[in-house]
């Protein structure tokens, strides 16, 4: 399978993971190790950056895990830029999952503030991965301001509803010059496989693994599904509905000349 490259990093695993909602930090660690994930997002608001022995960070201290700090909790571009700078300093990475959701109920991203913040953060030297609606125009606008990838949502975060935005994801994937990571709403390995078959470069999964009664096994299932989906994409899927056509009523006349 092709190696995925985002900014200066390469990834053999196309499964990015989250760190919330697990029953314990050790359970999170085991599941993430089993997932093979190499990019792990962690909320700045959950870690105690003053504390060298922060429980979450200690359990993520493995060489294969690249940390992707996220700005969960911020409500506008100004707060996001501030949080990003704190995260960069505390976690010693310029990678950032930019998420701005002023709406705490459905946690839907604010496209206007996200574009504003992305533009500024890129100028400040961040590798920006913005979490956004599956809006093809917004994705192009973000690409233009220099984001390293785009992260459109499959369905509302935590909903486990799969790729409800499928038609828009297809356009985004077709049009994008930066990697497309489907984030949010992926509730089952089959959803993840579908995203990969569509040509997404990676997916980000959290709730479906964390909330499973067996997070380790579910993490493995996602790993396999994503590998299968990517392999199928690279091997080229058979076009849907390509059955032999017995007669050609519209073009048969050509043979009569």
């Amino acid at each position: 399978m092709n190696i995925l490259k985002i900014a200066d990093k390469t990834f053999t695993s196309r499964l990015f993971t989250g760190t919330g909602k697990f029953g314990s930090s050790s359970q999170m660690e085991e599941a993430l190790l089993a997932s093979g994930s190499e990019l792990v997002t962690v909320a700045l608001k959950r870690v105690d950056v003053q504390n060298q022995e922060d429980d979450i960070l200690q359990h993520l201290a493995h060489p294969q895990f690249n940390l992707l700090p996220n700005t969960s909790g911020v409500r506008n571009a100004k707060e996001a830029v501030f949080a990003a700078q704190l995260a960069r300093e505390a976690l010693e990475t310029n990678w950032l999952k930019l998420e701005i959701h002023p709406d705490p109920k459905y946690l839907l991203p604010d496209p206007i503030e996200t574009l504003r913040a992305a533009e500024e953060l890129v100028k400040l030297g961040f590798v920006v991965l913005p979490y956004i609606h599956a809006d093809p125009v917004l994705c192009k606008r973000l690409e233009e301001v220099g984001t390293a990838a785009v992260m459109p949502l499959g369905s509302p975060i935590g909903s486990n509803s799969g790729l409800q935005t499928r038609e828009f994801l297809k356009i985004i994937i077709q049009q994008s010059n930066v990697p497309v990571v489907v984030d949010a709403g992926i509730g089952a390995p089959s959803h993840a496989a579908e995203a990969m078959e569509l040509g997404a470069d990676a997916v980000l999964v959290n709730t479906a693994i964390a909330v499973s009664p067996n997070p380790v096994q579910m993490a493995k299932a996602f790993k396999m599904a994503i590998e299968a989906g990517r392999m199928a994409y690279e091997a080229k899927l058979a076009p849907v509905g390509s059955v032999a056509v017995a007669s050609s009523p519209l073009t048969a006349f050509l043979d009569e000349f």
Binding site: G20, K21, F22, G23, S24, S25, L44, K45, R46, V47, D48, G73, V74, R75, E79, F82, A83, L86, P102, D103, P104, K105, Y106, G158, N160, T207, A210, V211
Partner: protein
């Protein structure tokens, strides 16, 4: 236009009647729907839902884990003062209750903080009575400045304030305000609050509107269970929640369901709510609203809390003292109510872990406010 306009379109007796008229079929329909409205909520809190309690609990647990994972947010109250100019028939701080009154000074506040921090807390809930002259906005400003650097999340449960007051306190670190209506039964509210500023029902019911306009991060709602029919009161809480979520969509919401606890000199509750009914109410709120935070204090017993954390609760306190200075001082002032679950934070933590849940101490960053 505020919530009061919507409130006035509802008649207490009619609402009550319609809740008690709900049938098993209404409950089944509510359970089968993908999302539920206020009529479904009525069915879920009605007596007709009791035979469906296990089914409700299963659904409530699933929905809670989907949204919040296997986690519980930890907070602890810090009582700053028990001075109060109100008479509330059910409260230990009531003006007519002869007791030693105390308002913590800077040194006493810092002593309390030291003890609370040693337990591991990062989210503190500041509580006072209502004594505007001694414990007003200036007192809160000073307290917030003292407290802010020690906690990443500060909540307050004090007298209702004006919008401008909230706007002044928020930049000093105030994230959340809890303001319980106590009861939405207007006539009974007057009976329970005969004297003091709190007797103004309108001002209290529109407090969440003022908070929403000020742009507060989180608002906590609730009624005091035991004053009036809890089902009807809970319907009005849900109505209030629905209204606020749509109007102040950038604000988060939490609900509490404090059951009246005894205090020295207090009246017994008018209405009793048993444990099964409290479970019913917790599950009904969750099934009605997947995103709202549900909070359970140390008013509830050891056994009840051990089990309730799996059914829909998302935040709990532990090791609480309800008398000002109670953490650091050996000399105990009069408390607001008696604690039921007296376990230490460490004991609660190990109980949470043994159930496969993780306690979350930090879920906000001071840099975000």
């Amino acid at each position: 236009m505020g919530f009061n306009d919507i409130f006035e379109q509802h008649n207490w007796d009619k609402v009550k009647q319609s809740i008690y008229a709900k049938t098993g079929a209404d409950v089944e329909r509510a359970l089968a729907k993908p999302t539920r409205d206020l009529e479904d909520f009525k069915a879920l809190i009605s007596p007709a839902a009791m035979p469906y309690l296990e089914q409700m609990a299963t659904l409530s647990q699933q929905l809670t884990q989907k949204r919040f994972g296997k986690t519980l947010q930890m907070y602890i109250p810090l009582y700053l003062s028990n001075e109060c100019q109100n008479i509330c028939t059910y409260c230990g701080f009531s003006l007519d209750n002869p007791m030693r009154r105390i308002t913590l000074n800077d040194e006493q506040i810092l002593n309390e903080i030291a003890v609370i921090k040693s337990y591991g807390y990062d989210h503190v809930l500041l509580v006072t009575g209502e004594a505007n002259k001694t414990v007003g906005v200036d007192y809160f400003k000073n307290a917030l400045q003292l407290i802010r650097k020690h906690f990443s999340h500060i909540s307050m449960e004090v007298q209702p304030l004006d919008q401008e007051d909230y706007e002044e306190l928020m930049p000093l670190g105030l994230n959340t305000v809890l303001v319980y209506q106590e009861t939405y039964h207007q006539e009974d509210y007057k009976k329970h609050h005969p004297k003091g500023k709190k007797s103004n029902f309108q001002y209290r019911i529109e407090t969440p509107d003022r908070l929403g306009k000020a742009g507060i991060h989180k608002i906590g709602l609730g009624v005091l269970i035991g004053l009036e029919d809890w089902r009807t009161d809970s319907f009005f809480t849900a109505l209030h929640l629905n209204y606020l979520e749509k109007k102040y969509w950038k604000t988060k919401y939490s609900i509490s369901f404090p059951r009246l606890r005894p205090f020295s000199g207090g009246l017994p509750p008018k209405v009793e709510m048993n444990d099964r009914e409290l479970v019913q109410l917790i599950c009904a709120y969750r099934i009605f609203n997947e995103e709202v935070e549900l909070s359970l204090s140390t008013r509830e017993s050891h056994t009840f809390r051990n089990n309730a954390i799996k059914l829909g609760i998302t935040s709990i306190s532990a090791g609480s003292k309800t008398d000002p200075g109670g953490y650091a001082s050996q000399e105990h002032a009069l408390e607001q109510f008696e604690i039921s679950d007296e376990r230490t934070p460490a004991e609660i933590l190990s109980m949470i872990r043994s159930q496969g849940y993780e306690a979350i101490w930090k879920d906000w960053d001071a840099s975000l406010s």
